[in-house]
Amino acid sequence: MTNALELSGVFQHVGGRCALEAIDLVVPQGSWLLLVGRNGAGKSLLARLVLGLDAPSAGRVRVLGQDLQGLPRGALAALRGRLGAVLQGGALLEGLSVIENLVLPLRARPGGRAQLARAARLVIATLRLDGLENHPPRSLSLGQRRQVELARALIHRPDLLVWDGLSDGLDPAAVRDTLEVLRAQRGNRPLTLIATDNRADALGDGCDQVAVLERGRLIFDGSPAALTAALPQRLDLRYVLTGRP
C-alpha cells in the first residue's frame, strides 16, 4: 500500500524559534491519523506543511506520492485538488454565500452549473446544512462555519482530508455525526484523514494511528492500543494527554 503522507526529518522555524523538530511520520493511504498535542505544540504548523501552505525549514514532505519541495505551482494546485482542508481560522470567503463557498473548489473545473448545484445539494443534505445555503458566513455560528468548511473540503471527494482542530466549535454529537459521514465516504473509496485535536479520543474508534506532538517534537507514533499500553509507563504522554503527570 502506498503512503498518503511521508514526513522525514522535518524542521520548521517560526519567528526564530524551532516550532517543529526532526519530525518523521508516515501515514498509509486510507488510514485515519489523529495528531494530538497541547495548544502551541505545532499541530497546525504540521497541517499547513501537509497542505503545502508553508514550506519546511528542512526535511522532506511527500503527499500522495509527490514531493512538495520544488513542485511547480501548477502541479501543486493540481495536487491540492486531491486534498480537502478544514483550517483553523476563517477559511471561508466572507464575500460569498454558503453555497458559493461550497462550490468554490469546483468552479475552476470542467462541468456545468447543474453539476455544481447537484454536488452542493448532496453535501448540504449529508451534513444537514439545509436552510443555510444563502447565508453569508459571518451570520453562522462557529460550529456551523466548521461544518460548512468541512462540506467544502468534501465536495470534490478528496483523497486526503486535513482537519485542523477536529472538535473546535463542534459539540460531541456534531463531531460524531460528521465522523459518521466520513466513515460512509471511507466505505466507498480510501479516504485518508489527518485530524488534529488536543484529545486522544477525538476520532473515536475510527482512529488507526495516533501521533503525539509536544513542543514541536513527536513523542509518540503508533496505534491507539499502543498508546493506551504506553500510558502507564510514559509520564510525558500522560502529561500531554491528561494535563497531569
Binding site: V14, G16, L51, R73, G81, A108, H156, V240
Partner: protein, 275 residues
Amino acid sequence: MAVLAVSDPRPLAAPPPPRRPFTGLVGAVEGIGFAALTLVRLLGLYLRILGGRARLDVPAFAAALRQSGLSILPAITLVTLAVGAILGQQAGSFLRRFDVPELLLLSTTYAVVMELVPLLVGILVAGRAGVDLAVRQANLSVSGEVDGLLAIGIDPIAYTLGPTLLAMLIMSFAFAVWGGLMTFTAAFLWLSLETAVPPALFLDAFTSVIAPADLLQAIGKPLLFALLIGLIATVNGTAAGRDPQGVGAAATRTMIGAVAAILLADLAVIVLTGR
C-alpha cells in the same frame, strides 16, 4: 518503570508576531519583485484562459465590473463634465482677449485627450477600484481566506486580481472614451454659449490633433495606469500580512502609490515618445 518526562511542563512561549511583508528597504525590493512575478502569473493566466486551458471566474468578473467599474461612472461623468465646463469658461475668457481660436482649440483638445482625461480616469479608478482591490486582498490575507483558497487549489491571483484587473482594463478604456466625450461636450457647449466660435472649428481641431499614434497613446495610457494600479493594490494588500491594522494601511498606500505611479508613468511615456 515509568519513563521520566521528556516534555517540559512549563507553559509554551508565545511565538513572536510575524513580520509584515514588504517593509523596509529590502521589503521594497521584495515588493517590486512580487509585482513582477504577479504580472507574469497574470499574463500566464490570461493566456491559459485564451487557450481554453483555464476558465475566467465569470461571477468574480461580473462583480468586479459592477463594483470597480460601473459604480464610478457617475463620478467620472460629473468630474469630466465639470472639467469641460471649466475649460470652456477659461477658453472663453482667453478668446475675449486674444482672437486665436484655432490655436486655443488645438492646445485644449490635445491637453484633454492626451493628458487630462487619462489622468482623471486613472486617479478615479485608483481611488475606487484600486483601493477596493487592496482592501479585499488585505482582508483575504488578514482573515486567512488566502489559505482557504490555496488549500482548495485556487490561485488567489486568479481569484482576486485576474478578474478585477480585466474589469479595470475594460472600464478604463470605456471611461477614457466616455470621459473624453463628456469633457468635449461640456467645453463645446460652454464655449458656444460664451463666444461665437463655429462648431466646425472644434471638429477641425479634433481631427487635426488626433493622429492615429496619438489616439493609440491616449487609449493606451489608461490601460497602463490600470495595470499599475492593479499591481500596486495587490502588493499593498498582500503586505497587510496577518495584521488587521494592515488593511487601512493597504488602502492609504495604494491611493498614494497609485497616483504617484500614474504621474510618473505619464511623464515616462511623454519623455520616451516625445509627445
